[in-house]
Symmetry: C2
């Protein structure tokens, strides 16, 4: 089949974009993107060209940039070239050069979309790329999503050449008399791809003639299998996940019955930055005491009675955390606050470390409010009969400036009942008539 015809048919079949949409072609100047540009030109699509100069290959990088600019002149299309300090970005963000290049590229492309300069980002990834991606994922270890490879459309990014083999692109480019540049670099992604292209696939083709075609069929099958997998996952999420404000609540008993548990837990926590390696720990929370938690880079998942609660790691100065009756654990920026009710008769044996407060539960009414201290705050420190400014209290206790910023107070009815981890208010201390003790424990992280 004619490549141009395959190209237009694939765009229609996958409903990638409409004929009049403005496209942003990502063009390196290599064979794939040069063929893509020619195809878009022949289709009469409305496009501009962007070129990323990652400045990793000295003069060659400049040659490529110049080459793509000339392409723009030839086609009468705008070319925008961006230069990036990729090595520095990689060092600063502690990522590989590959990841750095990808992040820089797509972040830059997104700006064009946001500015309304194009509707779709178009890349030249083809079938060979996709099979290599799948094989890489397969041998590095992956779930079902890794085996369906890249999809034709993902957000603003469209990949209209995923149907085409590299050989077909080359034949088209040669027949059309196109020129392109060769990338002499040996970066690790290319190295890995070459391993599959030149070693693994030929070896497999020898043992199983036609394996490449069947791997291509696998991609299609896995794409559909993943769609069915997603339907189940979404069904489970609907059953298991309750959104409450900025918290996500997951009922422990329902989750315990979910089957297959590990994968469902993974799918529930993954959007909050948790990794596959943390799944086992989260499953462990099901049977742990209130107050145990596991953190991702952005969130914390906390066991609280019959729920696992996912909360964003708080950074806001103004954070006010309301503690409802019955809550046994609360997440706050400095750690976790545990709440327990104990009969007064047992209070003697309670651990009374610095992070612990023992209050007369009979005098406490919920909700309580957990917040940072403020300059105007005052309270009646345990042992004193008169009120004292919290600011003064902190100075008297020689709290450093840095530590002061981490001081939180627990408030009831606009009265402070505890400077968290330091001193309770005298009015709520245990007395001879205390029947139940509210035991608060501040667990710092």
């Amino acid at each position: 089949m004619d490549l141009l015809q395959g190209f237009t048919e694939n765009i229609a079949k996958e409903r990638l974009f409409a004929a009049g949409d403005r496209l942003l072609l990502a063009v390196s100047g290599g064979l794939d993107s040069v063929a893509l540009t020619e195809l878009c030109h022949r289709c009469g699509f409305d496009f501009l060209i962007v070129h990323c100069n990652f400045q990793l290959r000295g003069a060659e990088s400049m040659r490529d940039e110049e080459f793509v600019k000339q392409m723009g002149t030839r086609y009468g299309r705008e070319v925008v070239a961006g230069r990036f300090d990729t090595a520095e970005y990689a060092a600063m963000n502690k990522v590989s050069i590959q990841v750095a290049a990808r992040e820089l590229r797509y972040r830059w492309f997104e700006q064009f979309i946001k500015a309304g300069r194009a509707r779709w980002i178009v890349t030249a990834h083809h079938l060979d790329d996709n099979i290599e991606t799948m094989l890489m994922n397969f041998f590095k270890g992956t779930g079902i999503a890794g085996l369906r490879g890249m999809v034709p459309r993902q957000g603003n990014i469209v990949r209209p050449l995923l149907f085409a083999k590299k050989d077909e692109l080359r034949a088209f480019a040669v027949e059309a008399g196109l020129q392109w540049v060769e990338d002499s670099s040996n970066e690790s992604d290319k190295y890995t791809r070459n391993f599959f292209r030149h070693q693994l696939i030929p070896l497999v083709e020898q043992a199983y003639p036609g394996a490449l075609a069947r791997l291509s069929d696998n991609l299609d099958r896995m794409r559909e299998a993943e769609a069915l997998y997603r339907q189940s996952v979404e069904g489970w999420k609907k059953k298991l996940v309750e959104y409450r404000g900025n918290e996500v609540h997951i009922p422990v008993e329902k989750l315990r019955k979910a089957e297959p548990l590990a994968t469902i837990v993974f799918e529930v926590i993954e959007p909050f930055g948790f990794t596959p390696q943390q799944v086992e720990g989260v499953v462990g929370l099901l049977d742990s005491a209130s107050g145990r938690y596991i953190r991702s880079r952005t969130h914390r998942i906390l066991k609280n009675r019959n729920f696992l609660i996912i909360t964003p790691l708080l950074e806001s100065e103004a954070a006010h955390i309301l503690i409802e009756e019955g809550r046994e654990a609360v997440d706050y920026p400095e750690g976790v606050l545990q709440l327990q009710r104990v009969p007064a008769a047992n209070a003697g044996v309670l651990d009374q470390g610095p992070g612990v407060a023992l209050l007369d539960a009979g005098l406490i009414t919920f909700p309580l409010l957990l917040r940072r201290w403020r300059p105007g705050d005052y309270f009646y420190p345990l042992g004193l009969r008169k009120k004292k400014k919290v600011a003064r209290f902190l100075i008297d206790n020689k709290v450093s400036l840095a530590a002061k910023e981490k001081v939180w107070v627990l408030e009831m009815d606009k009265k402070i009942i505890w400077i968290v981890g330091m001193r309770i208010d005298d009015r709520w201390k245990l007395g001879p008539r205390t029947q139940t003790v509210l035991r608060l424990t501040a667990m710092r992280q």
Copy 2:
């Protein structure tokens, strides 16, 4: 970890069988099954040993049989050895030696289960086997089920060693001072496995150290992913598939909206012997006329108005097929019968080939009955005023003995209205007052 401990833990974790269950150990005499036997012996399980002698390796086959019998003596357990004419079975059934051996083996094992001589068939498949199976499936082309490899339990078959590496089995066998036989054969399954074991996996391990461990993790992940996939598939089937007697009805409009269509169609038709290659054809039926069909080895899927109907290919002599009002296509052993209603004014242009009958629809009441002719049958052949025995009619028309067996009649209210494909009954022919024609077409396959 100790292999014996891993073995018992795995049996518990996967809930494979209870300690007191009687087991049927499939023992070839090779390393894997020898280690399995020793493990079961140490656990004190109740088992008997079965050995398949496929008689493919001459003296070596006899040596192995003898070896396994001696194992039985050593362990004080019953050994049953079965001898199979595998080559003959393969030739007769037109299958490979591998497939023949597998079919013979499992069919024989099943007889022990049915006879109550054991509860579970236990095989010695291990982790390396399973990774090789997955790789084989992957490169031969597969869906999600092929990528999760063998499962620890499937029907009566349990595989308690899937967690263990071949190396671990060997170390255990050596340490326990066990003896085993080596299989000198070079059958194609073994050849393929050797390709993965000695060529592909080492190559990948070089490029991605630790790949084998990650492939093992893939198996676990895929097993869970497949479970989620199955949940969706079952949900779709419940929505789409209606069982009516021995027919399966699938509403066309509902199926058309199913997403992802191809895979859902595959999962719906696969249990009836259809292949992945037939999916596209079945999707095509959605838009085809009533009467179009596709056959598997055992079933036919037929487009009838707003339904796809799956029916077993009929073989019974006594088949009686009831045709309800509104049916436009009916499946019967000799082909498909199409039914159409046409205004009499248009009847002149209708194709009137030998397979077509034109009847006065006003005289017909449903249901009709389609069945094979019987010796006592008679009817009023078109053009004759008196009745005639069908047997006589067939003789007069020089229908051969073989062809006679394929003659069907269409009956209404115990009266024959059509000798299918030959002659209608005079009483239901078109007349001057006919308003609507019932046009019947017998399409032979």
